[in-house]
């Protein structure tokens, strides 16, 4: 058996399906593609499949990955990719399959590009107001956690955040803590803008990459 890291995008309509649905969708695709998945040898055999880091509902992913364990197989990388693509919806394209180098547990940061579309206010004006908000000493937003809602100051996590107007939209590029230890959802930035500045907007968010604690790209 061998471990394979499958790289895919979750874009378009696929943004609107939950992590649980994605999991089922992938299992079905693997079954349809007749890929020789390795099953656990226990009393109730199940497939071995792990996603690097789940994506929130509504957010697109440009470089998502899942690890699967295969039986010994002659299947080439190219064939694996093309078979999976034939079995998946168009909005979940697979673009690579590699041997895993890092463990998903090493993931510490994720980069995002957010495009905000405001109503009743031009992008330049909104950008300068958001920049002003980012200067504040602290930015408190309510965050849902396992132990209920807590007030979180996101200011310390926004050091790698850039904001600029872009063809009538507001573009925010940010790198946020991600992974099992500390996770900051980019939607919290949206919440902050909405609460502090009373701005109403539509946010198109995509996750572009994952990194380890040394800011090395997750491979």
């Amino acid at each position: 058996m061998k471990n394979v890291r499958i790289w895919f995008k979750k874009i378009g309509t696929a943004r609107f399906i939950s992590h649980l649905d994605l999991n089922r969708c992938m299992l079905r695709a693997i079954h349809k593609a007749k890929i020789p998945l390795w099953y656990t040898q226990g009393f109730n055999p199940h497939a071995f499949i792990t996603f690097a880091l789940p994506l929130s509902l509504g957010i697109a992913g440009e470089r998502e990955s899942m690890d699967i364990r295969l039986e010994d197989t002659e299947l080439t990388r190219e064939e694996l990719i093309s078979r999976l693509n034939a079995a998946l919806p168009d909005d979940i394209p697979v673009f690579d399959a590699t041997e895993p180098v890092m463990k998903p547990g090493e993931i510490a940061y994720a980069s995002f590009i957010m495009e905000l579309e405001t109503e009743n206010i031009c992008a330049e004006e909104a950008v300068s107001r958001i920049k002003g908000m980012l200067e504040q000493e602290n930015i408190i937003v309510p965050k849902h956690t396992k132990s209920g809602i807590v007030d979180l100051d996101i200011k310390p996590f926004l050091r790698k955040t850039e904001i600029a107007p872009k063809t009538g939209l507001i573009e925010i590029q940010t790198v946020l803590p991600a992974g099992s230890n500390m996770n900051v959802n980019p939607l919290l930035i949206c919440d902050a803008i909405k609460t502090y500045l009373k701005l109403d907007f539509y946010a198109d968010i995509k996750r572009t990459n994952l990194y380890n604690a040394d800011f090395q790209i997750f491979v």
Binding site: T13, A14, F16, I17, S18, A29, H31, P89, D91
Partner: protein, 618 residues
């Protein structure tokens, strides 16, 4: 593709995956290269509609026609509806994201009466005038098929035409005719008069209904050459009947999320309360080889690892063991499970059990329908207590510990003793578990007895029967609960208010169109969802229209009364239904179609079991 405007709304709704399309095997065509845009509308939420086999069949089949693009439309849940109305987004089709108001056909499938308000709400959301008489152009044509069209009178004002019976051929014939009339710039009236000549097509506006002073119907009169009787369409050769080799595979979990094979149509049984048992006659089976191929194709093209062998009564399939053996030759290797949704008490065998169990294991459900032998004879449910106990013992030996039993209360001639009999039967099943010497160690048994309320339906021997009043049903429900004496039997029952409304609309006439419109105006929708249903609102609608719902639900009709659906012909003769009703009152059973032909009339279709049993007939 859904528009940016729709995407923006999705941030504010639950389960946005319902509203985006883009699923594997969904069909996208170029709108400029088709002549007919067809919106297949299921008047309930995505998860329910996507589970419906009929929609999968017709969606695939219509899309095999190069000049037709058939798309799916479902009822949005309240939160999405609110967003759509707030943002002026009309109801759109999932494949293209286009508003359906510009389509050629708005086609609904009518599966249950409680979805009728959703039909109106969806038309309203699409910005289409609700009443057929307010739509003057040839398109959009608002049409419907499905079992409720056997009495579509409560919807007659809203639809241009109904498809009676099985749609595989008829739908295509109507689309073909429409395509020609559209090219020739003909009027809607001309089209409808011509469509009414296609067998199985019912154009309600071509029939005048007159009433007697006592409120019953005097006559149903066709005009403009429309046929006096509309005979349902039937696909006689099931092996040659179209069946899709792929399903749209939903992103999100749906109610029945698996490959579905249709093994047969119709039912040999003739239970007297069951509309489907008469409506879908004659009984027609597919061959083992065809079913096996259809199952394999579906699994290959969807990735599903579970197949459901669907029909009204799958264990009545004459070659069930042969079929399961054939399926097991590849399903095991491909890690695919086989399930049988409908099992009968009297032919559940150890062999059958072992074949389902070898792949997947779930609870077992049987439907004795009535608690005493006398009442089971009345309804012609030819199942004995001995058979039930033998069956559950087989199941207990096989390791099952959860049994669900379905019953009905409010059946004709029912007494309180019959109701108590339900609890007693549950108790006997529990006793059977403890009598089993090799019962699983340390495990208890759970028997759920579930009682729904009887709703008399058209085209059954009980179509003349009054439904028990809500008060009587409540009394019987309480009696059932108090008759249970152990915690191992768990009684539950359906909401009688809901059954009452079903009874009104199942046997309603055209005067209910106004009630439906009124109910829609005061906000009735999603009536099939317990949280949404409000009988108080409905009663207000009836009051406003000056209509007494009890006239439809609780009144005994005489055999010579003109029934609202008398111009619809499903093959089974009215004289046969009358005879069956009389036999019910005499506690007499009728043999099933395989044992002996009872000459119900379905032989007029010249196929299926009618011919197999009586080859000299044709």
């Amino acid at each position: 593709m859904i528009t940016k405007k729709i995407e923006k709304m999705l941030a504010n709704v639950q389960k946005p995956g319902r509203y985006v399309g883009g699923e594997l095997n969904s069909i996208v065509k170029n709108p400029d290269q088709v002549d007919v845009r067809f919106a297949f509308c299921f008047p309930d939420v995505y998860e329910v509609g996507m589970s419906h086999l009929g929609m999968k069949i017709l969606y695939s089949q219509l899309n095999t026609l190069p000049y037709v693009w058939c798309e799916r439309v479902f009822a949005p849940w309240m939160d999405m509806e609110e967003q759509m109305r707030k943002n002026n987004v009309p109801l759109y089709a999932l494949e293209s994201g286009d508003s359906i108001a510009g389509f050629d056909f708005i086609a609904f499938t009518l599966q249950y009466e409680l979805s009728f308000t959703n039909v109106l709400n969806m038309l309203d959301l699409a910005g289409i005038p609700l009443k057929a008489s307010d739509r003057h152009g040839l398109s959009p044509l608002v049409v419907a098929g499905g079992p409720c069209t056997c009495n579509s009178e409560p919807l007659a004002d809203f639809f241009d035409l109904f498809f009676i019976g099985e749609g595989e051929e008829m739908d295509c014939e109507v689309i073909e005719l429409y395509r020609r009339y559209k090219k020739e710039n003909r009027s809607k009236e001309e089209f409808l008069i011509a469509a009414a000549q296609i067998p199985g097509v019912y154009v309600p506006s071509l029939y005048d209904v007159t009433y007697n002073d006592n409120g019953t119907i005097k006559a149903i009169l066709p005009k403009c050459g429309a046929p006096e009787k509309i005979r349902k369409r039937v696909m006689i050769d099931m092996d040659k009947s179209y069946f899709p080799d792929k399903f749209v595979v939903p992103y999100i979990g749906i109610v029945h999320d698996r490959a579905v094979a249709e093994v047969l149509r119709g039912c040999i049984r003739g239970c007297r309360f069951c509309q489907a048992g008469f409506l879908y006659r004659p009984f027609r089976e597919k061959s083992v080889a065809v079913i096996d191929k259809q199952c394999h194709d579906l699994c290959d093209n969807t990735g599903y690892d579970e197949i459901s062998l669907s029909s009204l009564s799958t264990s009545d399939y004459s070659r069930i063991n042969e079929l399961l053996n054939q399926l097991l030759t590849w399903t095991k290797e491909e890690k695919t499970g086989v399930s049988l949704p409908s099992l009968r008490v009297d032919n559940f065998s150890t062999e059958l059990m072992s074949k389902i169990k070898s792949v997947r294991r779930s609870g077992l459900t049987f439907a004795p329908e009535a608690g005493t032998q006398r009442l089971r004879d009345v309804i012609n449910k030819n199942v004995t207590e001995e058979e039930l106990l033998k069956t559950v013992k087989t199941a207990f030996k096989g390791g099952w510990t959860t049994i669900k039993l379905y019953f009905m209360i409010g059946l004709p001639t029912e007494t309180m003793d019959d109701v108590a009999g339900i609890a007693e039967l549950g108790q006997k099943v529990v006793d059977a578990f403890y009598e089993n010497p090799d019962k699983p160690k340390g495990k208890s048994v759970k028997v759920t007895v579930s009682a729904s309320s009887f709703v008399p339906k058209p085209f059954t021997p009980f179509q003349w029967e009054p439904q028990d009043t809500i008060e009587t049903l409540h009394r019987k429900q309480r009696h059932l609960v108090s008759s249970v004496r152990t915690r191992k039997v768990e009684p539950n029952y359906h909401d009688a208010d809901v059954s009452f409304l079903e009874a009104v609309f199942a046997r309603g006439d055209r005067r209910l169109c106004n009630v439906l419109l009124e109910a829609h105006k005061i906000g009735c929708k999603m009536d099939g969802w317990q949280d949404c249903f409000s009988l108080a609102k409905w009663l207000e609608a009836f009051r406003k229209c000056g209509i007494d719902p009890a006239f439809y639900a609780n009144r005994r009709r005489s055999f010579d009364e003109v029934l609202p659906w008398d111009h619809i012909d499903c093959g089974v003769k009215k004289s046969f239904l009358i005879e069956e009703c009389k036999r019910a009152y005499a506690n007499q059973t009728t043999p099933n179609c395989r044992e002996q032909c009872s000459s119900c009339g379905a032989a007029c279709f010249k196929g299926g079991i009618c011919v197999e049993k009586r080859p000299n007939l044709v």
